[in-house]
Symmetry: C3
Subunit: 344 residues, 3 copies
């Protein structure tokens, strides 16, 4: 991919005024720049990196005036990072769109495939599946019967989508993820576990992204649901009947147990554990490795630790616990002194 600086400026609404219309063929951070790479500079804190960068072309803020010499050619833009991302997405996306149905895929005759769809090699699409327009279903993916994948969604390779799953528009599902596996429901009867049938489904609303190797269980009845705009990192566990609100972010290896409801705009660090059957208020922020053991009623809290408490209490507890052996010694010393005083 080769792009002229003038073209980049034109396409992003930036301003390029150098007479030397240089060509770029890669993208990079300023520090990792090299001949032919496009970079961006958005934060004045990193101004030094601009002057030492070997990038050929760099987006800079509209009102920026260099105070030192700078080998890169500059494109001025109101939002340099946004402009840079636009070029990345348009010209450097490593997973660009394909169209067509590979002949080794299996599509059941009752399935409906929209326009401009790609169905990869060794894909299986079962009875009554609906695949919307502009969808990309990569190689090795399985889509169980009665599922629906809406327009513009991308499912990467080797994803497993169980029957009845509903996926909204503009969703992205990364490889190895499983959607619609049975919830972990068993009735203990006479020392054995009898399986409780899991007959519900999973629903992902629009603009949801799910990372690699996640597991999202179908509801026992009804639906497990992930609402509009929510993003999951890799290896996340979502149990049966969980309800995730809109615009939530959940980092890798976090697990949410059955029937828990999470409020909109919440954010979870990695390896967080959340028990079942609780409700977490909107806009809750949870630190990595925390364990949430009861409902969070007040919105907007920042929580950490297990059982999770507000960050400040948690940090005081951590600092304190590292002082315990000192305290034990001090208390023993106080005892001795009191004994002495009493003896007087």
């Amino acid at each position: 991919m080769e792009l002229k600086a003038s073209q980049i400026a034109l396409e992003t609404g930036g301003i390029f005024q150098d007479s030397d219309d240089i060509v770029i063929n890669s993208v990079s951070k300023l520090e990792e720049g090299q001949n032919g790479s496009l970079g961006f500079f958005a934060n004045l804190k990193y101004e030094k990196a601009l002057y030492s960068s070997e990038c050929s072309v760099v987006f800079v803020p509209s009102d920026f005036v260099p105070t030192q010499t700078c080998s890169a050619k500059l494109i001025k833009h109101a939002n340099p990072y946004f402009a840079f991302c636009t070029i990345l997405a348009k010209y450097f996306d490593p997973n660009e769109k394909k169209i067509g149905v590979e002949h080794s895929s299996f599509i059941h005759p009752t399935a409906f495939i929209g326009q401009n769809v790609y169905v990869g090699h060794h894909v299986t699409i079962e009875e009554n599946v609906i695949i919307g327009n502009n969808c990309q279903i990569e190689s090795g993916t399985y889509v169980g019967k009665n599922s629906k994948i809406s327009d513009n969604s991308k499912i990467y390779a080797n994803v497993s989508i169980y029957s009845g799953t509903i996926i909204g528009k503009n969703c992205i599902i990364h490889s190895g993820t499983v959607i619609g596996s049975d919830g972990f429901g068993f009735a203990p009867i006479g020392g054995k576990y009898v399986k409780i049938p899991q007959v519900g489904i999973v629903t992902l609303e629009d603009d949801v992204e799910i990372g690699a190797n996640c597991a999202i269980d179908r509801a026992t009845m009804g639906t497990t649901i992930i609402k509009r705009g929510t993003k999951l990192d890799n290896l996340v566990q979502i149990a049966h009947n969980v309800e995730l609100g809109t615009d939530i972010v959940i980092a890798s290896q976090t697990g949410i147990a059955g029937s828990t409801k999470v409020g909109n705009n919440s954010a979870f660090g990695g390896q967080v554990g959340i028990v079942g059957h609780i409700t977490i208020a909107e806009n809750t922020s949870v630190g990595a490795q925390a364990g949430i053991t009861q409902s969070i009623k007040e919105p907007g809290q920042k929580l950490s630790g297990t059982p999770a408490t507000d960050v400040n209490t948690y940090l005081r507890g951590v600092i304190g616990s590292r002082k315990i052996s000192d305290i034990i010694k001090e208390v023993a010393e106080l005892k001795r002194e009191i004994a002495l005083l009493k003896g007087k």
Copy 2:
């Protein structure tokens, strides 16, 4: 699927005496009931939900007499929940049984396929594999050579079963799970890690269920074994040479390190970690996120925390640690007072 109330009663051994033989076409909880849905009512605590439910038909206990008007038609049954689950499993299973071998699957000529088996699209079944009667091997699954899957087992899509794996009767393996990958065994030699060959196998006994995206490693020698009736949730890690007893339940994202033995009827919350080479007594119950660092000798304990201790000690520790900063202040105050007393 449409079912008459009289038929439901007949098939489950319940009693339906209404002259209006209403038809249901879905199942739901009482609270989520709607016209045409079948529900159940088993616990008197939730009696209100029955009266306000929009379910058309509801299983109720044999001796139940409504004390308010109730729009649902009632089927009386000795065990309403069990009866309800029976109908779920028989008529609303989203993964119903199929029979036949899809033409895009590969079955090695030396493999043996039993009767009434389903082999999905793009399945690979290698040399000398034995698939028992009534098994379901869903699309994209790989079964390595010399493996055996016994009668009535169901393997969902995109499962990877390495060579030599033995799977018992009535087992269920969810998508993305890997069985028989190499144990994590390396000998550090001169600062590098040299691979120790992992030549053992994995054995699952009858009635085992494994969730989605689990990893169960083959033994270095001998076998990693999961005994009859044990159930694993999603994303669980079972290392080489682990032995799990019968009727154990393990929640999501728990990991068990190499050669550890777990006693029958134990239960583990999510994200528990268990070190290698220890033995855990029967009927041990472990809270979520606990870390078990040594053998548990006394059966029947309830453990929590890291390192795991009995729940009460753990809870006292948690409460105490949140008070540490107060204690530090109090100890400082006591010191001052003693100094004053000594000065007198």
Copy 3:
């Protein structure tokens, strides 16, 4: 597989002097020995196990002289365990090498396939992929365009390798693992998350082994890199732009957040969490379930707990925290006594 004791001795450079050239057909630990099995005895602490073993043939140290009768025939060797592993790897490897391209695989015409390669059933190999000599690509695996897999590497079934991935020589990737999925990068704009394009790649150097169902994200720009000789267990998460040094071992379910750099020869227990954008010094050793929240500057430390500290501080904290309720009582008692003293 049947092997004579004399042949085993010859191939490993051991000494077998018994006139009865017994045949073995399996391998086992001494304790699990049976007629026909080969074992090893390397540590004098386990001498008893040798005398009671039912193994037919056992490797023993060159200078070992039995002090009791022993039914097994002995092969003397300078390094019995190494010799034993050599036989395991050569004759009992359950995943032995295959050659050829299965007809149900898809290989893009622009891909280059080296010599003595195996490409399994339902494999997909996209545009411009390079597969080196002696590679094994097992069934159901997906290799995205422009990827390179170097000589002698083995990719097990149902692995997903995204476009642009570079894999070195002698690497092993276990089933279900995903390499090159998008990093978890979003810009919060007006309460919604806008995807930041992830256009970098993943690089694995030579001799890297990755367990089952891991997730290794591509870099935002540049490359996520795992250097020579590093080994990952199952279900490990490596985020975008992480750099792992050489000869690192990482146990199961550990997660490393974005842009963190880990020094050579470090070792991590299971379920460890490491925050993003930090640097961990060489030769750091981290206990299971620890949480590393800041850079580790001094090499060679042993760390535990969350936030991770040196093991001794951690252990004192654990012991102390279990004594907190006693201390609270003692402090209350001291207060009372001081009040009494003051009253005097």
